[in-house]
Symmetry: C2
């Protein structure tokens, strides 16, 4: 039943990202994309432009990011079109000429996309993707492309920290209830899985992505019964092979003793209690006490599961304190990336009609030109440094090029990697990061060098642009 | 064309929230809702339960929250059902008995919902809504109900701060590109509009909610032309009635002089330049300089629009510094609620089969029983204090009850307020908040009293529960 494949729909004006379908996807844009497009159309500006998607700088707690969300962005490009409802709405705004609206009626994205594979570690200024297409096309898809890749990159880059903090113990995505909406809840499950989470509480993510769903009982269940132990017994009756008892509804230690009673009852029926869950209180102390109670009752096989407001900091603290916890349910703070809920991610034009382009906005200067990133490794196999270079300059002596062509003439280059393959890539990338770059706290910056050709072209263009544009003459 | 009405679909297993359609909505849940439901089903526990949705405590920067998201939650309850795909997936997990799966096939939500109207200011422990339904129904909708109301309440509560900081100047939602996904982008536009924003850049929100869309040009547009002034002239040709020129692509002051040239050219054609936009640099200083340049050229009617990484703190700082800014485009930090991206919002059982219920989890004790909130005003019309009371106790002498019945037997009580009405309610609520509660920084706590009956019932139940459940005997 789980389907590792893609859920893609190309029906007119609709886009499916996993189970979230958006009608009139082409209107899922900032208005200015359309006003600019109308002006390009009127001025007959139809040459190819290249836009580059990158992150200007990292949040202080991030030494690296994990690229994610590309698949959704490519599916969107394949299904990007204007429905008749969309055209009628735009006409109602009384801003757009009929000829432009006619042009939109048959609009399709026909361009090329080069991108870093999902699951790859990336650093500031490195393009996650570059779109090359007639300028109207490359412009109109901006908002949606940023939205889809920003979201999953934020989520995967946070989730991988939790996985690192858990040091091999299982991490389960528990966050659906407080993600920013349904779409974010689905992408959170996908992103956490890419980052190394084992399971998700999100059942629809189980159906959509083939991730194993996890979960047993809440406090409401325990308290709906006259006595706590009645609830434990009832659950064990219903799920003799999958019972994890929630211990903290009233008193965790008292509940652990009840779990022993129920665990022994299960043994007498030839069953085994799977686990117990702690969800509040001094988790390190309680886990130690509960482990002792279970072990001294001969229930050493019962796993201890911790949840409740956890994040990578707390997971790390608990394991450093020696808490005997076997698995972590991590939710809200991971899925909303509470310490860094957004990235300074931008989609900027770098070339138009064969001419390199930059902007000089204070604090937001962009690097011109189409680019490639070359990643070099040390003799130990660890990542050593990257070179950010122009696409058309000779590659350095060593270094793997990261950007690959993933869409040609508006069609995805098949086969797209499976989610399992993306997850493996992420694990391999994280394994070979320098330790100080991978650190949870005060990460060191990774070494990214700018090629001599890039610097020379940038400096020359900056000087030329300043000479013509920073004076008031015309 | 803009439709102020609701976009609701009740096709089998699908749910539309605005333009975001989710298939298999009933699976958009944490697995434990289904395992608990299976156990309730097996134990024949079918009595009515009441669950209460509330926020335990406010983020430090919030003195109040604006309730939002109820309409989507109610639409979800009306369309909550299991598709045949959903049932087949659940069967594939090999955890659920055929009789339970048969029960799910015909499952519908048939319960009652009482709720605080959208746009209302709310405070900690006050229920945003209470669901009363057979326990399986009230349990199964938990995850989705929290998700939808949490999201919009987070967003509206942040956006209202920006509107307050702008002191009557227009706020425009600019955040779609970095919201957490498509759904969050749509709800951000709706929530910001409720909170008092005038317009949105999100075109699909224009179509869906009837909010006026806003936007003109980006840096990419300017730099796609050989010279900046060429881009200004081209845009003015395309949109003679709606041209706002972006000034900071190369040099803001130099560009302001070019805007004067283009503005005068427009005047000679009988047109008027609408505005200029500043997007980087020292905004207070640049706004003052640009205003001077425009005014001394006789272009006093040209508005100055500010954008670029703004939030309520920065808007407040700019206006306090006297920056002559007429409107603010506010995006990422408002829409992801960067300083408080989640709320400690919970959906807890408070009554089952005629029995009051609480939990005693450390730091997370819940208040028992079905409740009502009474809101009293002072002689000046300002809000004075609230009373959190039991639903079945006599109301206090004065105080307006906030929770109203919004769903009966699984159907929305019509008419549901229009978005315009919700926006008005929010404006009225915010206007009568005590000044110190409404403060952007270090807000004072609002006075919420717990009724004597509630306290008495809580203490008695706590004592009884502790007596039976915090000892290891059974």
């Amino acid at each position: 039943m789980p389907d590792q494949g893609r859920a893609s729909v190309r029906s007119r004006g609709a886009f499916i990202s996993g189970p979230v379908l958006t009608r009139d996807v082409a209107l899922l844009t900032d208005l200015y994309e359309l006003t600019m497009a109308a002006s390009y159309f009127r001025e007959a500006m139809a040459a190819a432009a290249t836009f580059s998607l990158f992150v200007r700088k990292l949040p202080p707690t991030r030494g690296f990011l994990i690229a994610a969300g590309l698949e959704d962005a490519l599916l969107l490009l394949e299904s990007f079109e204007f429905s008749s409802d969309a055209i009628a709405y735009l006409a109602s705004l009384e801003r757009f000429e009929p000829a432009f609206l006619d042009f939109l009626r048959s609009f399709r994205f026909t361009g090329e996309v080069r991108a870093v594979p999902e699951g790859t570690a990336i650093f500031p200024d490195e393009p996650l993707l570059e779109v090359t297409a007639p300028i109207v096309e490359a412009q109109l898809v901006e908002t949606a492309v940023i939205n889809l890749i920003h979201l999953q990159t934020v989520q995967a880059s946070k989730a991988v920290r939790t996985v690192l903090a858990a040091r091999g113990r299982a991490v389960v995505d528990f966050g659906l209830r407080r993600t920013h909406g349904i779409h974010a809840g689905m992408s959170a499950a996908r992103s956490a899985f890419i980052a190394g989470a084992e399971m998700t509480s999100n059942v629809l993510a189980g159906l959509t992505y083939g991730i194993s769903p996890a979960g047993t009982m809440a406090h409401s269940y325990v308290s709906a019964f006259p006595r706590e132990i009645d609830s434990f017994r009832a659950f064990a009756r219903t799920f003799p092979r999958n019972t994890t008892l929630l211990l903290d509804t009233y008193d965790t230690v008292a509940a652990a003793h009840k779990a022993v009673v129920v665990g022994r009852e299960m043994e007498r029926r030839g069953e085994r209690l799977s686990g117990v869950r702690l969800d509040s209180g001094d988790m390190a102390k309680l886990a130690t006490e509960v482990r002792r109670i279970l072990d001294s009752a001969g229930l050493g096989y019962v796993q201890i599961f911790a949840s409740g407001g956890l994040d990578e900091e707390e997971v790390d603290r608990l394991l450093t304190a020696g808490a005997p916890i076997d698995a972590f349910g991590v939710g809200t703070r991971m899925n909303v990336s509470a310490d860094a809920p957004y990235l300074d991610m931008a989609y900027k034009i770098v070339r138009y009609a064969g001419r390199d382009i930059l902007k000089l906005s204070e604090g937001k200067t962009t690097w011109t030109g189409e680019k490639q990133v070359y990643r070099a490794r040390g003799s130990d196999g660890r990542l050593a440094s990257d070179v950010l270079a122009l696409r058309d300059e000779p590659p350095p002596l060593n270094g793997e090029p990261l950007l690959q062509t993933v869409m040609k003439s508006g069609q995805i280059v098949e086969p797209y990697p499976t989610l399992a393959a993306i997850r493996s890539r992420c694990a391999e990338e994280v394994a070979v990061l320098p330790d100080d770059v991978r650190a949870l706290r005060h990460p060191a910056p990774y070494r990214v060098r700018y090629s001599d050709s890039l610097i020379a072209r940038q400096r020359a263009l900056e000087a030329a642009t300043r000479a013509t544009e920073t004076v008031a003459s015309h």
